[in-house]
Symmetry: D2
Subunit: 373 residues, 4 copies
Amino acid sequence: MAAAGYKLHTGRSRNEQIATDLRLFVRASIDTLQELLANWIDVLLTRAERAGSAAMPAYTHLQPAEPVLVAHWLLAYVQMFFRDADRLADCRKRTNLCPLGSGAVAGATLTINRQAMAAELGFDGPTANSMDATSDRDFAIEFVNSLSQLALHLSRWAEEMILFSTPAYGFVELPEPYSTGSSAMPQKKNPDLLELVRGKAARVMGCASTLQTLVKGLPLAYNKDLQETQEPLFDASDTLMSMLPLVTGWMQTVEFNETRMNQAASTGFMNAWAAAAYLVERGVPSRLAHEAIGKAVQLAVERGCDLQKLPLADLQAIHPSFDAAFHSRLGLPEVLALHDVPGGTAPRHVKRALQNARERAASLRAHEPLTVR
Amino acid sequence: MAAAGYKLHTGRSRNEQIATDLRLFVRASIDTLQELLANWIDVLLTRAERAGSAAMPAYTHLQPAEPVLVAHWLLAYVQMFFRDADRLADCRKRTNLCPLGSGAVAGATLTINRQAMAAELGFDGPTANSMDATSDRDFAIEFVNSLSQLALHLSRWAEEMILFSTPAYGFVELPEPYSTGSSAMPQKKNPDLLELVRGKAARVMGCASTLQTLVKGLPLAYNKDLQETQEPLFDASDTLMSMLPLVTGWMQTVEFNETRMNQAASTGFMNAWAAAAYLVERGVPSRLAHEAIGKAVQLAVERGCDLQKLPLADLQAIHPSFDAAFHSRLGLPEVLALHDVPGGTAPRHVKRALQNARERAASLRAHEPLTVR
Amino acid sequence: MAAAGYKLHTGRSRNEQIATDLRLFVRASIDTLQELLANWIDVLLTRAERAGSAAMPAYTHLQPAEPVLVAHWLLAYVQMFFRDADRLADCRKRTNLCPLGSGAVAGATLTINRQAMAAELGFDGPTANSMDATSDRDFAIEFVNSLSQLALHLSRWAEEMILFSTPAYGFVELPEPYSTGSSAMPQKKNPDLLELVRGKAARVMGCASTLQTLVKGLPLAYNKDLQETQEPLFDASDTLMSMLPLVTGWMQTVEFNETRMNQAASTGFMNAWAAAAYLVERGVPSRLAHEAIGKAVQLAVERGCDLQKLPLADLQAIHPSFDAAFHSRLGLPEVLALHDVPGGTAPRHVKRALQNARERAASLRAHEPLTVR
Amino acid sequence: MAAAGYKLHTGRSRNEQIATDLRLFVRASIDTLQELLANWIDVLLTRAERAGSAAMPAYTHLQPAEPVLVAHWLLAYVQMFFRDADRLADCRKRTNLCPLGSGAVAGATLTINRQAMAAELGFDGPTANSMDATSDRDFAIEFVNSLSQLALHLSRWAEEMILFSTPAYGFVELPEPYSTGSSAMPQKKNPDLLELVRGKAARVMGCASTLQTLVKGLPLAYNKDLQETQEPLFDASDTLMSMLPLVTGWMQTVEFNETRMNQAASTGFMNAWAAAAYLVERGVPSRLAHEAIGKAVQLAVERGCDLQKLPLADLQAIHPSFDAAFHSRLGLPEVLALHDVPGGTAPRHVKRALQNARERAASLRAHEPLTVR
């Protein structure tokens, strides 16, 4: 690094230099991570497209609540990672300023062109204050905080994949190359990668915590404590750089058991909300409609059948507004279509959401900033 | 909150509602905090302007390194708080989307206009996915992470003010209304507010840590754990809202002892770097120049005098390039002027930096977004 | 608090007084928490006893691995809470020393009997150094760190109960008073308490983090930052005090579906390890035995049957050491009994473990220290 | 590691083995750290002894409060490190139990003598429950939490040493081998080691945070996330192992400027409390005594002199109880002697405290447990 003839031993200080190097590192890391994120989002979108009309239960409190399209579920994750890409882009703006020329603390004592030096290294401009520039690690903290949020999203995704790959759910067939068997227990396949991904979130959060604790109460300007910012910064960056391609590969090769997913989406009274909506449509006040469906569910549980198998007579005994159209409203396609708002799981909205996401994903790549490395 | 006739018991879920309320809270908090930050920055700038040509030591490793203008020192803090304002503005963009219409998890089942509802509540638009919208607390995490960085900046400022108000430094006269005396020790005045500000950084960091730990590994979508996001979110926001006006008031009333600051800036060989720069200018290679000045400092220490009091003959015995101009280069004004780069402490650059900061501070207020409350 | 005539305004300082008050608070909290822990452990033991010979799968990587007694599973948690009780007792020793007489920083200036004062307040003795005594918050940090570990144990317990109460597992019937239904989705019962317990672990960890960050780099002795130790200390203590009775009540009223548990323990090839052990017993080297069982499991999967349903001829085609005794070794009782070591799930060892735990739990109560309040 | 013939591939599982290895690591680390702590405490005690009757200001709120013996100040740190040694010893008890024989999750299936195996490896006994033993990392968390407290103590010590080595204080002469100079600023010596020690506290706290976050909400038993416990565990241990000998060496070679310390202890009205005590002794109510001394300090500040230089007449004008004995009570030795309680800074109590600490330090070494390595 020898910008604009500003060389070591001609007045440059270690303090400004290390600050510059760390900013270059964060900028390059962000650019690489943006690419890895784009790949990861692409695979999520491809899997969402391939899932077609397959459905699954959506859970609240981990209890099955309502059916959703598998694509809708995967698009929830896509939104999280879009936010991560946004946050990294915002962090890049604040990172991409050049401390060179700040000297040890009071500014360089040579006649130098800081603007030119900054430009030569691909920075958007020079930093504004020498004392701040040599003692500031905001860019590192903000970067690792962003990575921490990204890692949290991955941990949620990993948790769901771990759950869904257990025999109790059976939605996900663990891909061989990312799992381990047990010689002692040949019936088992362990989701090692997913568990590590979940665990790594703790590690990145630990890095973020260390970085912030380090600068608390530090007087200006440079203090040697700041040397300790390097390892957690590098570690958090390395962790995400190695995790993203692995989860991308996992997602490319995983197999969803759509039969089990669809079956789970069609049972367990997940059409209860749709049933109440049907009554509301018929003019029954919302509270009464839900009460009536509550009784109907009760009855179906006692009889060991689904809601749509209850005879009309029994339903009408619960509430007179039930009619022959009821049963045709409780099928999986009808229930899905009922959530007919932008952002809802109705297939036509999911289709549009997929298109929007594809466009945004493409623009992520298009806007990827040029970096001098 | 009853946007576009979308009322409770007509299909709205607690899950979407709480997500909406929390986003409204974060948005309003950001808007208030931006105003408080603008006031705080204004006071820092006013104090920097009032400091005029007063100088003080800049420290690295807490050891006196080089003299800087008091204004230059205060401008270092201004830069930190500009970044905080930026981060909050970026966080606001991602916060200001409306979850209403997401239902419990799969999307609303009523025909509603999410775009209109969002606009009515001052949101930039609706959220894109119902499962994400009801389980996402990114906006809260990003907000509290930003507050944590802001609190860290305040803790550094507080640390310096605590230090500089001790008799050992004596740069700062603690303002009575923000300090306590000791009936038992009448000679003492305690910087209680500053210590609390320093301590509160730990509290806000704890809130940020709780928020992130909460969502680690949470499966989609809403889980009751998320209820625990409320207290740390409110607490971090309240903490900053009460701290900013206090530090603003403190800074308005504090008195700087410019005599002691100038004196400290003029002693302790803080012109050693300038002395070396003088030799470099005369063609002495950088390394040799610093070596020569090292010897000169040694000599001055032995004689108990400042560098500029050494007779020319003794200096020339150390290196032949010293000449009569030397002594006139070591005064405080000359040393300050030497750091003649943008971002350096040379008075003409500090003056320009002040102007730039004033403009940016004004635009902070100008761009303050309108909020429906 | 007016020990041994040592009254305010006769030389006592706020610094020693607040340190004393906080120690009294921690000591009283520990004593109460020990009682709550003892109640909680008692209920776990009662449920373990009542579970009798019921079995369930033990999971590794959340995949079913081997069958264990339900009692064995509950005893795993009992061990964790024994450690928590131990840690609190150790923390109490270090807490129970009296700072009174330390003055503001240098020691009291009145002739007082610190030993007598300490004894009067139930302390084990006076603290040893006035500067340390007035600036030390180790006891608070150690206490909240211990609570954090306790909360982590509760979070693991809550996670399992949440999982096991989903329809996918169906081992646990959520107790009505600790759960909420959904008017909109009458088929659902939500494990609110369990989710809050899981979430509260994050809160207590945040308190622990705040406390530690607060004292980092604080010079001696008392600094006002220490005032901020109070809220996280009180909050962590309150959180555990309210959680423990709730989980105790939950555990008293929860119903285990032993039929589903036993069934899950009897299927899914969880006798594969036992099958290999059978071969090893017949002289087959361990590695080969596991290989052979791997093939047998494969065959059984293809045939859609359990291991013990494979005809002897097919088994012998895999390895000649299989004989007629094989099938009788694969029943649930035989598989459980096979883990015949102290700490293993063989019923005779679980019975002994239960007795040991009962004795230890009784001694917890017996040794509960007397506190002056 | 092949205890009691219990070899790999004869039924031993990786899960029990890794748990055993980690416990052996923690136990060995504790034993080494106890030795390093004993050395560190010895040096602190030696320096306290060598400080003799040298005094210095004690600070509260970083403002000079009262004079104390330098030995008294160093003994404050000794108390902290005694607590650390205690905590590590308590952690060792809970660590030193042997998981071998726990199998993968349900207990070993071979006839083995767990008691003998445990004894052979120097453990106090076997762990009590196989599911707990293979999924428990309490010992690692408790260990790193203890290290975190130790690191916090070192950070406080480092902070004070950094402060006291600045020209503003000048109490401490930085030892050459542990500091760096600046070729550019020959007047400077930087306390690099101390700053790193202060910074490393953040790192160890980050490790503790990662470890705890990792296990939050983990279902039983072994999950691969636990692999991530290893790096923070090793890192925290390594960090303390390298820091303790360095601070020990630093403390052995540092030079205290006792002249400056004594001078600082004798000025700045630090005898104000003693002056009030003198009046109280004469029957003046405490509040009035402090008021009177407040006025006297005011007067002395105006006259630019110390309290003991005020003429008796002027004092009696403030309060009639002043008499000729007053001035002889305000010398440094008299003020120190006034704090005449155990734990106070009166020289006779500091002498006894030193003896007590020496005895306790010796017993630390004596009780150091034997370890099989």
